[in-house]
């Protein structure tokens, strides 16, 4: 099985990307000082995946916090997913937010407005 996975830390999320199943999960906190370095392996995996995509790609994002430095990298990840979507794999991004976290919901809506991929806003009870 082809997979890219890393454990979460207090400043970085856990990432699990199953390339053979077409499922990507990002969970936790994303507040590193150097986000580019952190997200590079994921962006590379997405490049690799784009040459052999599954018919459907499911993306689950469940972030508790993310800094503005990460927000650009997350956009880069979503842009890769957008081109994978255009390339024929049906991508869905499930954006999770906690019930009272309007800021996180708004952040998801910002991405939804920029990225041409179906988004689902998923409310999580605290």
């Amino acid at each position: 099985m082809d997979k890219y996975a890393i454990e979460g830390t207090p400043k970085t999320p856990s990432i699990s990307f199953d390339l053979s199943g077409g499922v990507l999960e990002i969970k936790g906190r994303s507040i590193p000082e150097n986000s580019i370095e952190f997200y590079k392996p994921l962006v590379d995996s997405l490049d690799k995946y784009s040459s052999a995509t599954k018919p459907a790609t499911t993306v689950n994002v469940q972030l508790e916090y993310f800094n503005t430095s990460s927000s650009k990298c997350i956009l880069d990840v979503f842009k890769k997913l957008e081109s994978i979507h255009k390339g024929g794999s049906a991508v869905t991004i499930n954006w999770h937010y906690e019930e009272d976290d309007e800021d996180m919901l708004e952040a998801g809506e910002d991405y939804q407005a920029i990225i041409n991929v179906p988004f689902k806003m998923v409310m999580v009870a605290e």
């Binding site: 000082e33 650009k72 880069d76 910002d110």
Partner: protein, 181 residues
Amino acid sequence: MVDVFDIYDKMERNNILLSFKGEITSDLLTSILQIMENKMENMQEEPKMKKKVYNVLVECLQNLYHHLDEVTEAEMEKNRSAIFMIGKLNSKYTIFTGNYILNGNIQGLKNRLDEVNSLTKEELKEYYKKVLNNGEMSLKGGGGLGMIDIARKTGEKLEYNFLEIDNKISFFTLNIKVSTF
């Protein structure tokens, strides 16, 4: 002799929960965030407020962290030092930061802060998306997104001041109020 009581008294009157003066390192940043998270937990702060304060703290501290280098390049003596304080008065948090800045960088920063302060909530949202989507990603961070994000999340104007130290550097202070409206 340093008048410690005077410093203490000023902090007490401003209800400072935590303060730090010195070099801002990555480890220190992690510790401050952890301490504040625990403090708010113990104070039984509502989740909404906790999240806002945490988010704004991250941006403020990382601003300090990333901008220390700039003045170091000018090889000033006291440059690597910054100050950070967080206080709580009448259920509103205030974050105070102060750091040295090269005089040549003041105008650009001032313009950005004034621009952010001139925008309404809806305009800030649009501006954020524009900078997020078109802005250059710098190695140092979000390329100008930090201040926009802080203004969006707090719904408050960013209060700032530049105090000229000499012909090379000034001291930049920023006061950010955080409330849940």
